[in-house]
């Protein structure tokens, strides 16, 4: 009974969480050209935990104790960007992830990390994510750099409640502290708290159903105060063109977001040659833009100046065909629908409304060489439609984009337990809905090394270079990424 109560206690603690951690082991797949559907990997199986992040299935999926240590570097630079995006972003982070199967008591996952982010030449925007889809933004008058840094912690626990019924929960907490280097010296504090709960029921080895519920709370507080005594001026944008100028010694703004995601999943193994998994997610998110209500010298309340809401539907299905011992074929189908509207709260008028639909079909093929390595190839075709109604800006767009995405990658064991990986990605997007480019071409090269010569740990290295360019213009953006993953097998 005590054991049961302890588990329930852990569940309650973890009920507000997110489970969007980056699986450390994808370092291998990234080195092989991001072959996420064709290559089999320890953290890429067709199950509820790997495919749909249902924490309940962690108990069944993670059966070996290990600790990941992972330092990362990522740089994204170039002039192919939206107005308020930084010219360059440099990210450094270090994370530790521990997985501890506790036998019948369940499986425990713990993660801690610290990230540092340098955003160079941010043009006026004071928000961390100026293009999150809301019609509102906060700008000052200068182009400067932001530095963000902060820790994150995450805990996850899963166990078998009754035979064949598995329960899991996640809790995560993250803080980012930011500062703009020049006027208006905006200080940003982003606090994100989340949690999720999942449940899975296994009828037998071939049929599993599950569901998960996720809640996320995010708050971004921006405080502008120049250290030169100069009053700060902040422009509260409603839409792309209209803004209200606010001026004071100190200007506070706050953005509060809450998101709830719900979705069932089904896994079915038709035979030893065919298995499938399907998930459906529905997410609802709202963002509130708040200003302090000032009376005299004090401001004890806040009022809403803008409100945005988002609804997201996702259907995702994958089927794996095991052609023989050496090869398999994979089919991926997905559909997602993303709608949003924004309201100018003081006058209760609709500012923006938009909808994006995306259909995608993907194929992947993998072939294993005998005692040598393996090769994989993937192709995705997607058709996206965006219907954007920016009433306040008098800007109405209905646009379609057919996109092609091709991936090729290989892993070769050159010498005993030393693996070399490389890959190539090519994509052609007819219309880029985010940055507005036409015929956007992306070329990406990836490299990786796996060193498994030691008994106690494995070292995986990853590097990539990625360049996005436009056929009709000279704008481009390049990305460089490095990642080291140390997996301690016994600790």
């Amino acid at each position: 009974m005590k054991n049961f109560l302890f588990k329930i206690f852990l569940l309650i603690i973890f009920l507000i969480s997110d489970y969007s951690e980056i699986y450390a082991q994808v370092t291998r797949l990234k080195g092989m050209g991001n072959l996420f559907i064709s290559i089999e990997d320890i953290d890429n199986g067709l199950n509820l935990y790997n495919f749909s992040n249902n924490p309940a299935w962690m108990y069944k999926d993670e059966t070996n104790a290990h600790l990941y240590i992972s330092p990362n570097y990522d740089s994204d630079k170039g002039d192919y960007k939206k107005n308020y995006d930084p010219y360059e972003v440099r990210k450094y982070d270090l994370s530790f992830q521990s997985i501890n199967p506790l036998g019948e008591s369940g499986t425990f996952y713990g993660e801690t990390g610290y990230s540092y982010e340098n955003r160079i030449k941010v043009d006026r925007s004071l928000r961390y994510e100026p293009y999150a889809g809301e019609a509102f933004s906060y700008n000052d008058t200068t182009t400067g750099s932001f530095n963000y840094s902060g820790p994150l912690v995450k805990f996850k626990y899963s166990f078998e409640l009754i035979p064949s019924l598995y329960i899991g929960a996640v809790f995560n907490y993250k803080i980012l502290d930011g500062l703009k280097s020049i006027y208006s010296r905006a200080k940003t504090l982003i606090r994100e708290t989340g949690g999720s709960a999942g449940m899975a029921y296994s009828f037998n080895e071939n049929f599993v159903i599950g569901t998960s519920l996720n809640y996320l709370s995010n708050q971004e507080k921006i405080e502008s105060q120049d250290d030169n005594l100069t009053d700060v001026e902040v422009y509260d944008f409603k839409g792309d063109h209209f803004s209200i100028l606010k001026r004071a010694t100190v200007i506070d703004r706050k953005i509060k977001k809450s998101k709830i995601t719900f979705g069932p999943q089904i896994y079915y193994k038709f035979s030893n040659e065919i298995e499938s998994i399907v998930k459906f997610d529905y997410s609802h998110l709202n963002s509130k833009f708040l200003e302090p209500f000032t009376q005299g010298q004090s401001s004890i309340r806040e009022y809403e100046t803008g409100y945005s809401t988002f609804d997201y539907y996702l259907f995702d299905a994958r089927t794996k065909f095991y052609l023989n011992e050496k090869s398999n074929l994979n089919l991926n189908l997905s559909y997602d629908n993303y709608t949003s509207w924004s309201r100018n709260t003081p006058v209760d008028l609709l500012v923006w409304k938009w909808e994006v639909k995306n259909y995608e079909i993907g194929f992947g093929y993998n072939y294993k060489f005998k005692n040598f390595g393996e090769i994989g190839i993937e192709y995705f075709f997607s058709s996206e439609t965006a219907d954007s109604l920016k009433y306040i800006d008098n800007d109405y767009i209905n646009i379609n984009s057919n996109n092609h995405f091709f991936k090729l990658g290989t892993e070769i064991e050159l010498v005993d337990k030393i693996l070399l990986r490389t890959g190539y990605n090519f994509s052609l997007f007819e219309n880029d809905f985010i940055c507005g480019g036409k015929n956007v071409v992306t070329n990406m090269l990836t490299f990786g090394v796996g060193i498994k010569t030691f008994d106690f740990f494995i070292i995986d290295l990853y590097a990539s270079y990625n360049e996005r360019s436009l056929k009709e213009s000279a704008h481009h953006r390049a990305n460089i990424s490095f990642n080291i993953l140390i997996t301690l097998l016994k600790f």
Partner: protein, 362 residues
């Protein structure tokens, strides 16, 4: 197990339906303003369209400047919901001292509304002395330095004027004891109250000892010294034409090479300093120097109220000015001056603008 699944789907359905929200029915950015500016041509005696006139449109979304077309028409579509003020103005090509102007205020546009009207403009002569620039915000610094303030006057007439006995006063909020605020006519006795500082040019009204040349500027510094020696981002006022000097203060700087305006309040021991972001400055002819009961409106030559925010309440009597100027940020090194030197339509919001740097004497 079946009961559990049924319960699960009921809860999830409730969650799903509960999340759906309805957007507002009406759209922002769908309103319209259509104005036709006309004026009465004195040569022909006809009402004619005021073509290619400057149209200043202000609202909480800021100030924008447009132009009428050849028919005097301006159409603004897709405007967001707000309260708008419109001022049309044009200088007469043959007489730069006359400006044709007209104003419509408090146009409230909500969703999908149209405002169509004709603005009848009138000719306004500004041949006289006006306050042309006020620099009060202070330079960019972190030591609370703001002693480089000045007031600039402009003589827009074709003849010389004389400054003898004229008075410059500050009417600040900190001095309000009664009435509806500084610069208001408490008791409706024809004068404006709440004098904080009052400094006077030498001589007496009607004398001709201190000329003010036609179409020229005069700078009156709080302290006529080179302030860049103290704060590098400041300005040099050692060549100012006049200096405010408080003879009752033991520490006020006095440049011996610059003539002084002297303090008329013996109970005030400090220099003539203005609030950085909100204040009222009055220039009067000096006939009414009895400041205790306020300044007679008849003797006021010009008055300007500046405020930090468009939401601030105006207190200066509307017979002197109908609106106020939005001031630049404190310690920004920015200044306010008239859009056209000397043009005064008694509408501060439309007559004045913020400039990036002070321009003393030019």
């Amino acid at each position: 197990m079946q009961k559990f699944l049924v319960l699960f789907f009921i809860i999830s359905s409730v969650l799903f339906v509960g999340c759906l929200e309805e957007p507002p029915v009406f759209f922002d950015g769908q309103s319209k303003i259509e104005i036709t500016a006309v004026w009465e041509n004195p040569e022909r005696g006809d009402i004619e369209p005021l073509s290619f006139a400057k149209v200043i449109v202000s609202s909480e979304y800021g100030i924008n400047v447009y132009s009428t077309d050849v028919a005097g028409l301006l159409v603004l579509n897709n405007l967001p919901a707000a309260t708008y003020n419109i001022s049309v103005r044009k200088q007469l090509p043959l007489d730069s001292t006359i400006i044709i102007c007209g104003t419509i205020n408090n146009i409230r546009l909500s969703f999908n509304s149209s405002f169509v009207d004709t603005i009848r403009t009138n000719a306004t002569s500004f041949s006289g002395i006006t306050i042309n620039e006020i620099y009060s915000s202070g330079p960019v610094n972190n030591i609370f330095f703001m002693f480089d303030q000045f007031i600039e006057l402009y003589n827009s007439s074709d003849s010389n004027k004389y400054l003898d006995g004229m008075i410059i006063t500050r009417m600040s909020k900190g001095n309000v004891l009664y009435g509806s605020g500084p610069g208001s006519d408490y008791g409706s006795d024809g004068d404006i109250d709440s004098v904080t500082y009052i400094f006077k040019f030498p001589g007496n009204p009607g004398e001709f000892n201190y000329p003010f040349k036609s179409h020229s500027f005069v700078v009156i510094a709080s302290d006529a010294v080179n302030h860049t020696k103290t704060v590098s981002t400041s300005i040099d006022l050692s060549n100012a034409a006049w200096e405010m000097y408080n003879q009752f203060s033991v520490g006020d700087l006095d440049n011996p090479n610059v003539p002084n305006l002297l303090n008329m309040r013996s109970d005030v021991m400090v220099d003539f300093l203005m609030n950085l972001s909100d204040d009222i400055i009055i220039l009067s002819d000096g006939r009414d120097s009895k400041w205790e009961d306020g300044l007679n409106i008849d003797g006021i030559i010009d008055g300007v109220e500046y405020q930090a925010s468009t939401n601030s309440s105006k207190t200066l009597d509307s017979r002197i000015d109908r609106s106020f100027v939005v001031s630049p940020p404190r310690y920004s090194g920015k200044s306010i001056q008239r859009r056209y030197a000397g043009s005064d339509t008694n509408d501060g919001n439309m007559d004045w603008e913020i400039i990036a740097h002070p321009t003393p004497g030019y």
